[in-house]
């Protein structure tokens, strides 16, 4: 008999793996992996903000993530330093700010490790509602935006010239990404949230020949990693979120190794 907390962890992780797959694909195809990483880690500032203002942390994380994304887009327009340097600056600056702010505001009682790495075994029924309800919204919006997102990923200028409103499509995607990060934070924390999006895509790439095939395979890789990781975690008493991400990374490494030998 599986313990209820383990079942909830499994349901939460598999739900997230499915939500994450289409978003991860768009991030990877647009070479936005580090962009996603940066806005995700900046969401720790949102945690601090939520604790400070005594509002729901999910809401403050979504708002902060959007603000940081907007900041990155503005900073990215300057031409003096390349975008990855701007991402590095924002990533570390906001992470430092977030750690200091959470420590100062809430005092030593706040579970910083919980926010950084998540606590998949502490997922409540209410969290599951958030994951599946929010996830349904995310998937619905992604399905609606899929064709334009795909066209922008193939060639943004061509898409624009053919009448796709590229900027609005990208903006809508970033809003959905922010929501997904807020959901993922519950399970794997701000440091590992983007791993759920990126790593399964890498693992699935060698075995896909269509964009949708890649998304479905990635979701399957993610879900299997959740099952494997939670098994590993409960048997070896290892932290849940990191165990899942480690399984994903091992599968991705194996997948790339196999494909490079073909």
């Amino acid at each position: 008999m599986i313990e209820p907390f383990l079942l909830r962890a499994l349901a939460a992780g598999i739900g997230l793996a499915i939500i994450a797959a289409p978003l991860g694909a768009i991030l990877v195809w647009n070479r936005m992996a580090y962009f996603g990483e940066t806005v995700a880690q900046a969401s720790l500032v949102g945690v601090a903000l939520g604790l400070l203002l005594n509002i729901d942390v999910t809401i403050s994380v979504v708002i902060t993530t959007l603000a940081v994304a907007a900041l990155l887009i503005v900073l990215g327009r300057q031409k003096l330093v390349p975008l990855d340097a701007i991402l590095g600056l924002t990533h570390h600056g906001t992470l430092a700010l977030g750690v200091i702010a959470t420590a100062l505001i809430a005092g030593p009682s706040v579970d910083l490790m919980g926010y950084l790495f998540g606590d998949v075994f502490a997922v409540t029924t209410a969290d599951l509602w958030l994951i599946y309800g929010g996830g349904a919204v995310v998937l619905a919006v992604m399905a609606w935006l899929w064709q334009p997102l795909l066209r922008v990923a193939v060639h943004e200028e061509l898409a624009s010239a053919e009448g796709v409103p590229s900027r609005r499509v990208r903006a809508a995607f970033i809003v959905v990404l922010a929501l997904t990060i807020a959901i993922a934070m519950k399970i794997v924390g701000v440091l590992l949230a983007i791993a759920f999006l990126i790593v399964p895509i890498v693992a699935a790439r060698p075995f896909a020949s269509t964009p949708e095939g890649l998304v479905v395979t990635a979701a399957a890789v993610g879900a299997s990693s959740v099952a494997l990781g939670l098994t590993l975690s409960s048997n070896a008493d290892a932290p849940g979120g990191p165990s899942i991400v480690l399984c994903m990374a091992l599968i991705a490494g194996l997948s790339l190794a196999i494909s490079s030998r073909r």
Binding site: R31, A153, E157, L158, S160, V164, T210
Partner: protein, 290 residues
């Protein structure tokens, strides 16, 4: 935010320049009317980047069944002009008139799809179009790339990719084709084939073509009209006119001009073949910032 942004300040400055002391060394006449027989007609297109003038009162007309080649050195504003004509480039001045519901097929200069995005040629052609497979095969056959239909985009050779991009541009039956350096990554014999193909497409479909190129002598053979761009249109006309033009010689050097052997005719028709586009004849119209 207070005061003018740098771009606005530069814009004002440029206005000032042209109103009182034109740097181009020729008169800007009054703004001319759009050419109503053209598919697309642009007047006085002006673009600034920071305080650098990228496009300076550029006029362009492209008619049905006509191949217009846009040439110019690197940084002369070719791609900015193409983007402006496609409607994806904000401008600081000028106006563009298109025939109603003008359908434009576009082949971009660079196409480096991320290898992480798996996509077959068929899927790429059908993106945004509800086209049956037979229609995809037909358009691929038209450009001589039908055997690529089930290949991944990332596996195509340079020449195959250009043909597939051309097929993509043709699939919505455009009235105007805009090709930004369509022979990039194609070997020499492939180039000639590709230009012949573009010429055939024009003949068969009766479409207007705007071809951007830095590759002069091959292009010329297929062109009805050449526009030589260096921020402004320095010279234009039928190929032989442009090849003989002193502005052209100055831009590309006598060496390039000599490679024009086939077109070396007497310089007896330099003016009047295309009265609209002669140097110094472009309009002086400042439109609203788009």
């Amino acid at each position: 935010m207070t005061g003018a942004t740098p771009a606005e300040a530069a814009h004002d400055h440029a206005h000032h320049d042209h109103d009182h002391d034109c740097a181009c060394g020729h008169d800007h006449g009054p703004a001319k009317a759009f050419d109503i027989s053209a598919l697309i007609s642009a007047r006085g297109l002006t673009l600034l980047r920071g305080d650098r003038l990228i496009l300076d009162h550029v006029d362009v007309d492209i008619h049905p069944g006509e191949i217009v080649t846009l040439i110019g050195p690197n940084g002369s504003g070719k791609t900015s002009l193409v983007r402006a004509l496609l409607g994806v480039q904000d401008l600081n001045g000028g106006e563009i008139s298109r025939v109603e519901n003008l359908k434009v097929g576009y082949v971009p200069q660079r196409f480096d799809i991320d290898r992480a995005l798996p996509m077959t040629v068929a899927r790429f052609l059908a993106l945004g179009h509800k086209a049956p497979r037979a229609a995809l095969s037909a358009v691929l056959a038209e450009v001589g790339a039908e055997r690529c239909i089930d290949q991944q985009l990332s596996e195509l050779s340079g020449g195959e990719l250009q043909r597939v991009l051309l097929a993509r541009a043709l699939i919505a039956n455009p009235e105007l084709l805009v090709l930004d350096e369509p022979v990039r990554g194609v070997d020499y014999t492939g180039e000639a084939d590709l230009y012949a193909l573009i010429g055939n497409l024009r003949d068969k479909r009766g479409i207007g073509v705007l071809l951007v190129s830095h590759d002069l002598h091959v292009v010329m053979a297929q062109s009805d009209r050449v526009l030589c761009l260096n921020r402004h249109i320095c010279c234009s006309g039928v190929p032989e006119t442009v090849a003989q033009h002193p502005e052209y010689m100055r831009l590309f050097g006598p060496e390039t001009a000599r490679n024009f052997g086939v077109y070396r005719h007497h310089h007896d028709h330099a003016h009047g073949l295309d009265g609209r586009e002669l140097p110094g004849s472009h309009g002086h119209h400042h439109g609203e910032t788009l």
